[in-house]
């Protein structure tokens, strides 16, 4: 797609050197370029978005944190069972101001992927997350969460230690936290595991990130009874940032570098900075009570039905 844009731009430059009788052709080309440039995202299929969101070279939470924040000090443990490397968090300075940052972290190579459990947090991860949020509330610091996970981990230990309870408790607690919460979906917003970091005042999504109730593969397995319909499932599930905007779940789509975040990490982070600043400022215009009411209303409204 983007190469096509480049080709056409080049063509446009060459065309402009042509004599005046090619005007009609130039006009058509210009129009085409404008169209492609204004709405390149709309041309990608849902499945292509899924692939971009999971791209192996896509910047992960820590890559964004290191580019957007200074003095990041990660801390560990849920004080109940253990630490979870799939979920990172700690204090950091955002434009010099102390804030709490929390997010799921995927691994870059095999060893790291195993260490980070593919970004699939366990109950101790979610319990660490809420501990850090409570600490932010205690010291009146805003919270930035970064979502990038295939989902909460489905395993024996995770079940035994109450994966469901950990997520549920986070949701209920986040609804009443008395500090601003800005949520950014960086890559995969996978089901309940993503939701456990998403109950905030603002939800932003990077252009090519996704948010879904179930992975397209699992959806295909359940509804089509095979693994071959993931593309159709991705389309049917309406999981792109644009879809989220149309459901009024999302507050803002954050643009990515022209060929996706994986092509330019610095640019991807730079594009996120202003939206984070602006949204935090907007929330701060409200009193705490107003903020909590608005946060409640934001989620209270979600859903479509006939009465």
């Amino acid at each position: 797609m983007n190469t096509k844009v480049k080709e056409l731009t080049d063509l446009k430059e060459r065309v402009e050197e042509l004599p005046a009788d090619a005007t009609a052709e130039i006009a058509t080309l210009k129009q085409l370029i404008a169209q492609l440039e204004s709405d390149p995202v709309g041309k990608l299929t849902a499945w292509e978005h899924v692939q971009l969101a999971r791209h192996a070279e896509r910047p992960y939470t820590l890559d964004f944190i290191s580019r957007l924040f200074t003095s990041f000090h990660p801390i560990q443990g849920d004080r109940k069972f253990g630490d979870d490397p799939a979920l990172v968090g700690g204090m950091a300075l955002f434009e010099g101001e102390p804030v709490m940052v929390i997010g799921q972290q995927k691994g870059r190579n095999t060893k790291e992927r195993l260490y980070r459990n593919y970004g699939m947090a366990k109950p101790e991860g979610y319990r660490k997350s809420i501990r850090l949020m409570r600490m932010a509330e205690k010291f009146n610091r805003p919270i930035f969460t970064f979502v990038d996970t295939p989902g909460a981990y489905p395993g024996i230990g995770a079940e035994a230690r109450g994966q469901a309870e950990a997520i549920a408790r986070n949701l209920r607690a986040m609804a009443r936290l008395r500090v601003p919460i800005v949520v950014t979906v960086l890559g995969e917003g996978g089901s309940g595991g993503a939701l456990a970091l998403s109950l905030g005042d603002r939800i932003l999504m990077l252009e090519h990130s996704i948010y879904s109730v179930i992975s397209p593969e699992s959806c295909s397995a359940i509804l089509w009874k095979d693994q071959d319909h993931a593309k159709e499932a991705a389309e049917a599930l309406r999981l792109t940032a644009k879809d989220m905007l149309s459901f009024k779940i999302l507050d803002e789509i954050v643009p990515e570098p022209p060929e996706g975040s994986h092509t330019d990490w610095d640019e991807a982070a730079a594009l996120l900075k202003q939206p984070l600043l602006r949204n935090l400022e907007e929330i701060r215009h409200q009193s705490v009570e107003e903020m909590l009411t608005a946060r409640f209303e934001k989620f209270r409204r979600i859903g479509e039905y006939l009465e």
Partner: protein
């Protein structure tokens, strides 16, 4: 049995199975899987040396069982747990609990309300809410057809019934889920109805009881279903802050987004015996870790052992238990209490 090369009823096979049965009775279930590991190679060894005959036709089908079922259809039902044949009338009088093995049959939302609330009487509200198919979702079937079929077969517009009634005289708001409505899955309507039940509870300060029976969020409404978890949990946060009692009753099965939101957020989480309760479904876990799950995993008793539910109670004991706790959570001081006592 087939592998051994003997017919199913041969004395050798019976001996082997009696032996295995004896061993499995002797040992805890955790060990029994290991016994099987030890035991199986013996089988194979036996098979290699002793396989004199090989069955090349499929075994004869005995028509006896089928005949029986045809004759008794409608009057009897088979317990899926102990496989005993139960007279349906007897089952109904025992609240759909197997009189032989205490297996708790799945029941519908309306039956649940009848069993739970005084004299089986309740006033339904929010019954008119219906799904609008916001995603125009089509897989092998289309969602609209699935909905129409579910409405017809359950007599409800959605997978939850909101009701008002009393338990031992205590007024309560009760939302009961209907598993036979698309697996009790939670879409926009279920989310909205449970939120309204919570808000009703908040306004009237009547205690809230939610009976879960659900496979989780409804795929056919995509992320809108997922967000119902956030919506309900946010409403429950207000209920919690206002100190209105909330009792969550988990029944077979309660999994996925329902467990990971309201079902786990009760002041009390109570469950019926042997109900499947978890975040991820057993099949998903097996596929992820690539091994079979132990017997009893994700059942009520497992959750009780791991501190995730407060009590596992027989269907018949639920009203007494809830009523006593409502006394504790309410404003009244002196009361007589129910006849219910924890056994032992």
């Amino acid at each position: 049995m087939h592998r051994l090369g003997f017919s199913a009823g041969s004395p050798q096979v019976r001996k082997v199975y009696r032996c295995r049965l004896y061993l499995s009775k002797l040992f805890h279930w955790g060990l029994s899987s290991r016994i099987e590991e030890l035991f199986l190679p013996v089988h194979f060894h036996y098979h290699e040396q002793m396989a004199w005959f090989q069955r090349d036709k499929s075994p004869l089908q005995t028509p006896v069982h089928q005949e029986k079922r045809v004759q008794t259809e409608g009057l009897f039902t088979k317990c899926p747990n102990c496989e005993n044949v139960i007279w349906k009338k007897e089952l109904e009088s025992s609240l759909h609990v197997c009189p032989k093995c205490d297996h708790h049959f799945k029941i519908g939302a309306r039956q649940r309300l009848e069993f739970l609330l005084d004299e089986g009487r309740y006033k339904e509200f929010d019954a008119h809410l219906k799904s609008s198919d916001p995603l125009h979702f089509v897989d092998k079937k289309n969602y609209k057809e699935r909905l129409a079929k579910a409405v017809k077969s359950t007599g409800s517009n959605e997978a939850v019934v909101n009701a008002e009634g009393t338990i031992h005289g205590h007024p309560v708001i009760c939302a009961a889920m209907e598993y036979s409505f698309i697996g009790g899955s939670m879409g926009s309507v279920v989310g909205e109805k449970i939120t309204r039940a919570i808000e009703n509870s908040l306004d009237s300060r009547k205690p809230l009881i939610v009976v879960s029976a659900s496979g989780g969020a409804r795929m056919m409404e995509g992320v809108l279903s997922l967000m119902q978890m956030a919506k309900i949990s946010a409403a429950l946060a207000r209920l919690d802050e206002q100190r209105v009692p909330y009792i969550s009753l988990l029944t077979d099965p309660t999994t996925g987004g329902v467990t990971a939101s309201f079902a786990m957020l009760g002041d009390l989480n109570i469950a019926e015996p042997r109900a499947l309760i978890g975040f991820a479904g057993p099949r998903v876990i097996e596929q992820t870790i690539r091994q079979k799950l132990p017997e009893g995993f994700q059942r009520s008793e497992f959750l009780l052992e791991h501190g995730m539910v407060d009590a596992v109670l027989s269907r018949k004991d639920l009203p007494d238990f809830i009523a006593d706790w409502l006394v504790f959570m309410g404003n009244g001081k002196s009361v007589s209490g129910s006849k219910f006592q924890v056994p032992g």
